[in-house]
Symmetry: C2
Subunit: 518 residues, 2 copies
Amino acid sequence: MLNAVGREIPEEILKETGKQPYQGAFHFDSVEYKKDAPKTRPVIDPKKSKLLSNIHEALVKCGIKDGMTISFHHHFREGDKIVNMVMDEIHAMGIKNLTICASSLGKQNNPIVPYIEDGTITSIQSSGVRGGIGEAISNGKLKGLAIMRSHGGRVRAIESGEVHIDIAFIGASSSDDYGNLSGMRGKANCGVLSYAAVDAEYADNVVAITDCLVPFPNYPAQISMTNVDYVVEVDSIGDPEKIATGAAKPTKDMRKLLMAEYCTQVVANTPWFKDGFSYQTGVGGASIASTISLAKIMREKGIKMGFGLGGLTKPMCELLNEGLVGKLFDTQDFDMDAIENVNHPEHYYITAGEYADPFNKGAFVNKLDYVILAALEVDVHFNCNVVVGSDGMITGAQGGHPDTAAGAKCTIVIAPLLQGRIPAICSDVTTVTTPGESVDVVVTDYGIAINPKRQDIIDALKDTNLPIKSIEELRDIAYSITGEPNKVQFEDRVVGIIEARDGSVMDVVRQVKPFEFG
Amino acid sequence: MLNAVGREIPEEILKETGKQPYQGAFHFDSVEYKKDAPKTRPVIDPKKSKLLSNIHEALVKCGIKDGMTISFHHHFREGDKIVNMVMDEIHAMGIKNLTICASSLGKQNNPIVPYIEDGTITSIQSSGVRGGIGEAISNGKLKGLAIMRSHGGRVRAIESGEVHIDIAFIGASSSDDYGNLSGMRGKANCGVLSYAAVDAEYADNVVAITDCLVPFPNYPAQISMTNVDYVVEVDSIGDPEKIATGAAKPTKDMRKLLMAEYCTQVVANTPWFKDGFSYQTGVGGASIASTISLAKIMREKGIKMGFGLGGLTKPMCELLNEGLVGKLFDTQDFDMDAIENVNHPEHYYITAGEYADPFNKGAFVNKLDYVILAALEVDVHFNCNVVVGSDGMITGAQGGHPDTAAGAKCTIVIAPLLQGRIPAICSDVTTVTTPGESVDVVVTDYGIAINPKRQDIIDALKDTNLPIKSIEELRDIAYSITGEPNKVQFEDRVVGIIEARDGSVMDVVRQVKPFEFG
């Protein structure tokens, strides 16, 4: 069946998953549903302790068994030790057929690839699966389907009961004996625990794992003791140096600086750029450069940002410190400066649900004026791909891309026209991850394209000196340089689903074909 | 059937309500249940507004109809205008057979008594029903049963699905257009919105009513936009002067000062009084006096309180300002000083669930060392009555009494031996609201009784000069002064249930018999 972005979604996938094809960004707006709910064991007797001696004991207490769904969060990023630690123990116990529902997985989790191959893990649900896990999935090693969800979509999936978590494992930089958890005040601080909040609320069993047990009450708590069953203390939950590896240094790449300047000019010349505007940007070099160049214009014009949102980096936090931003709402910290800035009184921890969930009564993304995003590929329908590489391999993550794109009044995607020898602007993206209807402006180093449905933006920018082109013109320039690339070849087998934030199917990912010498 | 506090619970009441008789404070500990969940209409489209022009429009949008359950919170106390405002509109629409599920109701709600009499309201669930509503219930005017719940018990009832709220009305001192709510930053500040948090989470429809609409985002938010459907702006939600009427002035009553001194000596001589201890006290004159006299000993001995909990008053906030308390956890503010103190960085808003819910994974009350409570009556089984007056009329509220009593390591109840000509220490309380098993020490102006099951406290106090007596001795002194009082006479009809915090039946309340001149 063709979905609203023109992708053919195989009937057997719709049948197997019970999903609908994607029908538009706001298709489920106001469509009533009943939320899921966890099973809970009350802790009434104050004499009971939640402290357990090790992860094995926690697994036993939670009744780990074949076929369960377990969950993790990825705030420790490349420094995370929790996933591997828990999976090693589960593997040693001989448990099979697990579904992992993680907020994201990365190359730090390469050690669990053998557990995919031996059937310990048979399904994976994640924002992305970079590194060895992505390769394993794309190579058809996972028995079941991989489901790639946005950050908001993951919250929706859990709260709607599409996935029900049996045991959630929450790495916490600090915890007291009753499970008040924080991403601060520990040995390995990750800043915030936003992605894990929904796990704490909806999982039947919640296990906190910490390497910094502090006296009760560990406040301010980001996750409440009222949702935590057990607390396990271990030697180390994360490598502090690798937690912050998302940090991009200010770029000196002229191409990125040019795109940043274009992006800033788009923002500065559109009607939402006024005192109190709201803004989110990513961690790419051009995104960060555009924050820095935007700040200059803000100072010149005396315009302050009302709030900044999302995964945060040093440049955004510096704007807060300077008083150029009123408030920051934080779901993830990409560098040490952002983590330390969590202590600023106007730097607020929010949950992933508050950030981006399409199925609650209105998330922060709905209140964004601007979001600056990156993409691996953008096509002439403005569809974006942020998950599947040009070799067909799963290598990226949806993150908050489709969430913020749907919510923001002006969604700007930055992509250099060519990624090496591969055109980033193309006729059809390999895989659709964010629908073109949610993308308003595409900024490349060869010019800027505005989505024709956004006549208001076209009008706002028509008297500027910006190099406005049609998206087809940008594609043609790219193809004129590299030639039109051959399509990546896939096997028939579907190995993964790109889930739209509302739970419908945006696209499927198929097994890669082994490269054949001609 | 006799329950665990020896009260006969009529079979027909158990049948009608599906409830069990009370079987002990920790009977349901670890007994797994599945939480309830609301129906939700997602707000995905960022162009949608939540602002409605008036309460009538909100009622229509929420589909108000006969038989629904609607809810309110009581943070505005005697200054509250929300309940009457909403009920007037509902009454004007001719809706009947409503259940009101309120965190509490008081004499400010006397104007809705006619709506009880005319069948607009046929069931009431509340912590207490002071004033005209209490009299109406005790006089048999309410068609259905009144259910009196503790603050923690109300959270349990809602989250377990025992009561499902169709429409929650949340008065908010400030709100933005998307429903981020706070008890601060408005014209009529109540401090915190703790009791309403569970309504926001579990009600199918959530309507915020505010008289102070502020720009987005209204942060820090105590209740999140993600749970709010509609926002209605009205002229005034509360009378600021009457919000703070719970405040007790430092007492000069020698009897209360004596009890305060006894209470302080009990605390100071029991083993939990050490650096980092936790403490909750009420708003009665003796409770407040005991906080003040305890502070003196804390200063002398260099002992600091780890945290203070509960409904807060000026004396507790002054301890925080002085640095004698590490943190305050706030569910309700009884005076203007406490409301202003919400801005202190170590004064934390918590939900009623975090405070006292027996059915989550561990509430703050479980971590209390000491709680100082008051009571209308205490009997020789240490059972307390805080709801039904000596005339048989419902006149009080459970509040957090049974929650804190069950949780604290040392529960101290202060009661003057005689309340006017009525003995407060008696053979059997009129109505059991807190079970004797949860009460450790009873302090009167004639002596102190320790629950015999607390040998540890008996040992701790045996070398002090405190006038330790048996509870029977105290009762006998009281009776020797007043004579043994005649029992209040009731009709057969059960008009209300005293629900234990776990949902079982602690006691029933019967219709009062009209006074007959002999």
